[in-house]
C-alpha cells in the first residue's frame, strides 16, 4: 500500500488503531528509562549541580516545539500544493501540542535560568524568538477557530504557518548570530556534542520519549479531528435534507 493510500481518512483511522497501542507502550517505556537515568544514573554537573536535571525536560521540550512546527510547515505544503485531505488535519491537530511543548520549554528554561543566570527572563534573541513561536501557535489555533469552514481555515492557516516557519532558523541560529545569555548549541553541532556521555545519554533517551509522546498525541488528535469533520458533514447533510436551501444557515462550526 502506497503512502498516498493513507490520504483516505478511513484507512488512516485503521492504521492509527493498530499503531497507537505500540507507540504508547514504547513512549511509556522510554519515559520510565529516561526519568530513571535523569535522576539516578546521571551525575551532577560540576558547575550547575543538580539543576542540570532540568535540562532533561527543557531541551527535549525545546527540540519538540521546533519539530512540531516543522511538521505543521510540511503539512501546510501538503495542503497548498497537493491538497492532501489529511494535511490540514495534521497541521491543525499539531498546533495545541506544539504550543504546550513551547510553553514547557519557556517555563522550564525560566526556572533553570533563575538559579543559574540570576534572572527568570531576558529579552535575548533565543528566548524572544521562542516566545514568538508560542504566539504563532496561539495565533494559528485562534485562526482555525474563527473560520467555520475547515477547508478554508486550513488554507489560510497553511499560508500563515509557512510565513511563521521563517522563525525556525532564527530560533536555531539566534545563539550564533547574536550575543545571547542563552548558551550556544552543545548537542547538535558540526563538531559533535560537547556534553559528557553520562549526561548526554539520559538527555537523548528523554528526547526519544518526548518525540514518541508527540507522535502519540498527534495521531490521537488527528483521529479526533477526522471524527469532528464527520460529525460536521453529517449535520450539514441532515440539515440540507430536512431544509433544502437552508443548509448554509444551519451549518455547524467545525469545532
Amino acid at each position: 500500500m502506497a503512502f498516498w493510500d493513507y490520504a483516505n481518512p478511513t484507512r488512516f483511522l485503521r492504521l492509527v488503531h493498530v499503531v497507537l497501542p505500540w507507540l504508547t507502550g514504547l513512549c511509556v517505556l522510554a519515559f520510565a528509562a529516561g526519568l530513571y537515568m535523569s535522576f539516578f544514573t546521571a551525575p551532577e554537573d560540576y558547575q550547575q549541580g543538580d539543576t542540570v536535571r532540568i535540562m532533561y525536560i527543557h531541551v527535549p521540550a525545546a527540540w519538540l516545539c521546533m519539530m512540531c512546527y516543522t511538521v505543521m510547515s510540511i503539512s501546510s505544503i501538503g495542503t497548498l500544493v497537493w491538497k492532501h485531505p489529511l494535511a490540514d488535519v495534521s497541521a491543525k491537530s499539531a498546533a495545541p501540542i506544539g504550543a504546550a511543548f513551547t510553553f514547557m520549554a519557556l517555563v522550564t528554561g525560566s526556572l533553570w535560568g533563575k538559579p543559574m543566570w540570576g534572572t527568570y527572563w531576558v529579552w535575548d534573541a533565543r528566548l524572544t524568538s521562542v516566545l514568538v513561536l508560542l504566539i504563532m501557535y496561539l495565533g494559528l489555533m485562534t485562526l482555525w477557530r474563527t473560520m467555520e469552514d475547515p477547508i478554508k481555515a486550513g488554507k489560510a492557516a497553511a499560508v500563515l504557518t509557512l510565513v511563521g516557519a521563517l522563525n525556525l532558523p532564527i530560533i536555531k541560529f539566534s545563539v550564533d548570530w547574536w550575543n545571547t545569555l542563552h548558551q550556544p548549541a552543545s548537542v547538535v553541532r558540526m563538531d559533535g556534542p560537547t556534553i559528557h556521555p553520562d549526561i548526554l545519554w539520559p538527555l537523548l533517551v528523554m528526547a526519544i520519549a518526548f518525540t514518541l509522546l508527540f507522535f502519540v498525541l498527534h495521531l490521537m488528535a488527528m483521529r479526533n479531528e477526522i471524527l469532528r469533520r464527520r460529525v460536521r458533514a453529517l449535520r450539514l447533510r441532515a440539515a440540507s435534507a430536512s431544509h433544502p436551501g437552508a443548509a448554509a444557515a444551519t451549518a455547524q462550526p467545525a469545532e
Binding site: 490520504a7 483516505n8 481518512p9 478511513t10 484507512r11 535522576f39 551532577e44 549541580g49 543538580d50 539543576t51 536535571r53 532540568i54 525536560i57 527543557h58 521540550a61 485531505p85 495545541p96 501540542i97 504546550a100 510553553f103 514547557m104 517555563v107 522550564t108 526556572l111 533553570w112 533563575k114 538559579p115 509522546l213 498525541l217 490521537m220 488528535a221 483521529r223 479526533n224 477526522i226 471524527l227 469532528r228 469533520r229 464527520r230 460529525v231 458533514a233 453529517l234 449535520r235 447533510r237 441532515a238
Partner: protein, 60 residues
Amino acid sequence: MDLGTHAGFIVASYALCALTIGGLIAWVRLDKANQERDLKELADQGISRAASGFGSTRKS
C-alpha cells in the same frame, strides 16, 4: 534523594511538565469521547455515514 539547594526549581519544572502533559492527554481523550458521543447521537437519529451513502473509501 537530595536535589541540593535549588530543589524547588527542579521539582517545579518536572511538576509543570507533568501537569502540561497530563492536560494534553486529558484534552485528547475528552475530545475523542465528545466526538464519539456526537456520532452516536446522530446515529440514534438515523443519521450515519452508511445511511448518508458514504462509502468506506470516500473522503469524509
